[in-house]
């Protein structure tokens, strides 16, 4: 199945209550698949084509604030349009899932795959100090698995979660084992789980629930911000996920996520055939970033090559992680932009050029 189609299947199977979206290449198959599946006739899941990305993210806000499990998907320019709504959702501490099937930018850019929205995803993206939980799948299987995981984390922390993928994985066809069907939460379950904060209807015996990000009293607004920051520190302590491939004996480490990590796996084979001991660190959570894993590898590696389909964004977090651990080693970047995928050979050449020959 295609990555985008799997997102739709996974949504229905994990008991999602609603999808609100707007067409944009290269992710339109998500809503198209959902419309074909007609989940409102089976699980009762709502699927609605909104008038814009601005509207769809605000539909998410409304539904999420009632304790429902809801999601949207879009691609880079559409995510920019959603930035306002995502900031409000983070500020109001609402759980939901946003999928970004990235394409090349800036502007209208290209419809080909890219990873140039890394900063936007992991640093917040909209206004104010906030973080999204960001998961980066590297296969169609992970497109399936991360939908449920993203919802689990979103509700655990009352925080928006993002699946940051790209047009390559969205359009790629691979074998996949779909998750089993989980029933949607009943109204009673929602009331029990989230009734302390969700707008499920005011009942006698509790004050009315108000979902808002507004607080004009600076003192209270700072307290809110401190609470958010405490939550983010907890995520950083407990939710980091990453994968290490052939790092045990590696002298050089490639660091890449998503599509570029798939390419790097081939590069490792090519490099090892040449006798270069190289491994791969693949961050799975881009926020919280696997800083400790980077530091651990920095203690014993001769150098890092960060491979990205952007001008080099994640490399800043890699350098910070090493620097904060008091470690100094060469950290180089290689990447392609504008919708072009790096080839495995190019990565090995860059490794030799930038790290080994020096």
């Amino acid at each position: 199945m295609k990555g985008n189609e799997v997102l739709a299947e996974a949504a229905v199977r994990c008991g999602c209550d609603g999808y609100f979206g707007y067409p944009i290449t290269p992710q339109s198959e998500v809503m198209e698949t959902l419309m074909e599946l007609q989940p409102w006739t089976t699980t009762g899941m709502v699927v609605l084509q909104a008038e814009s990305e601005v509207a769809s993210i605000n539909m998410l806000y409304g539904a999420a604030a009632t304790g429902k499990k809801v999601m949207t998907s879009s691609s880079s320019p559409g995510i920019s349009l959603m930035a306002e709504g995502i900031s409000y959702i983070a500020g109001a501490e609402l759980p939901c899932l946003i999928v970004n099937v990235q394409r090349g930018g800036p502007g209208l850019g290209t419809i080909q795959p890219s990873q140039a929205d890394y900063f936007q995803a992991v640093k917040g993206g909209g206004h104010g100090d906030y973080k999204l939980i960001v998961l980066a799948p590297a296969s169609v299987q992970e497109m399936n698995d991360f939908v449920d995981l993203a919802f689990e984390l979103a509700f655990k922390y009352r925080n928006p979660a993002m699946i940051l993928t790209d047009g390559a994985i969205g359009q790629m066809m691979e074998k996949v084992e779909l998750s089993d069907h989980k029933p949607r939460w009943t109204s009673e379950e929602v009331r029990q789980k989230w009734g302390s904060w969700a707008t499920v209807g005011k009942v006698p015996g509790r004050p009315h629930n108000v979902i808002t990000s507004l607080e004009l009293d600076s003192g209270k607004m700072e307290v809110n911000n401190l609470r958010f920051q405490e939550k983010y520190r907890k995520m950083e302590a407990e939710e980091v996920r990453f994968e290490e491939i052939m790092c045990d004996d590696a002298e050089y480490i490639l660091i890449a996520f998503g599509t570029s990590s798939r390419i790097c796996q081939k590069s490792i084979e090519l490099a090892r055939a040449k006798g270069i001991k190289v491994g791969l660190l693949r961050p799975i959570t881009l926020y919280p970033f696997p800083r400790q894993a980077v530091a651990n590898l920095a203690r014993r590696a001769k150098g890092f090559l960060v491979v990205e389909m952007s001008a080099g964004q994640m490399i800043e977090d890699v350098k910070l992680a090493a620097f904060d651990a008091g470690l100094s080693l060469p950290v180089e970047y290689f990447g392609r932009m504008g919708g072009i995928l790096p080839s495995p050979d190019e990565v090995v050449e860059a490794l030799e050029e930038k790290l080994i020959k020096k």
Partner: protein
């Protein structure tokens, strides 16, 4: 001398008016003379009379009405500027048993949120929209709104709204009445006791429609912003009657007995 004390006054047989149980005891932040307080009271009364408190979710806007949630004892969501109809769509689509309404001003609804309100009404979302039209941005200090009248002085039209420069005042309610998703579209006001009674009837009808899943019911309330207009409350009411009402005539624009198309999604 027979002196009445408070326990005599509050005897049931002496009761002529009671504050709605849904009105919270928050001190009003609205300026004296502002129409918001009256409309809040009417919504509280209607929801209480219809027994809808536990089923209703309100969506407040950006603007002076942002704090509507401080005054009415129901669950509330505060939306981004102009996005209340999208937020309400998300709520009602995933919670079709709920009574959902938005409360929006003219800048919120007719300017920055024009797309959201038109599409929500066109889809016939089963919601009530309460539209406060006072022809000005109140909260930000009295700037021009889409509904500001020609020649009207605001802080961004200090020499009066000039059509060549600023375009025409927008009759968005007339536009909305054209959309097949709306079942009831009306324009009311609250400057006299009689007007208040009529407006309450309109709001009651709107909430009953939504309870009966009749699609979108839209109640505009032509209102005063005496602070923004730089008038006394009495002057503001007079100015509204003389200038706003001729351009924004009161009354029902649409009252479809037939059910508007409502999605079963």
């Amino acid at each position: 001398m027979n002196v009445m004390n408070i326990s005599d006054i509050i005897k049931p047989e002496n009761l002529v008016y009671e504050k709605s149980k849904l009105q919270l005891n928050t001190i009003m932040h609205y300026c004296p003379g502002c129409s918001h307080g009256v409309v809040h009271k009417l919504i509280s009364e209607v929801l209480e009379e219809l027994g809808l408190q536990e089923r209703t979710i309100g969506v407040s806007p950006v603007g002076c009405g942002v704090f509507a949630y401080n005054y009415i004892d129901i669950d509330w969501q505060e939306a981004a500027h102009g996005r209340a109809p999208a937020v309400a769509t998300g709520i009602v689509r995933t919670n079709p048993d709920k009574i959902v309404f938005t409360y929006q001003g003219d800048g919120d609804l007719a300017s920055i949120g024009a797309a959201e309100i038109l599409h929500a009404c066109n889809r016939g979302e089963n919601i009530v929209v309460v539209f406060i039209n006072n022809g000005i941005y109140g909260m930000t200090g009295g700037q021009m709104a889409p509904t500001t009248l020609e020649g009207q002085v605001t802080s961004t039209t200090p020499f009066g709204r000039n059509i060549d420069l600023n375009g025409y005042p927008m009759k968005i309610t007339e536009l909305i009445a054209q959309l097949p998703g709306t079942s009831y579209v009306t324009r009311q006001s609250v400057q006299t006791a009689a007007a208040v009674r009529k407006c309450k009837n309109a709001l009651r009808k709107a909430f009953q429609n939504v309870d009966q899943k009749k699609g979108t019911s839209f109640v505009e309330v032509v209102s005063t912003c005496n602070s923004g207009w730089k008038m006394s409350p009495v002057q503001a009411n007079k100015w509204m009657e003389e200038n706003m009402f001729p351009f924004y005539p009161l009354g029902d624009m649409k009252d479809s007995e037939k059910n508007a198309p409502v999605s079963k999604n």
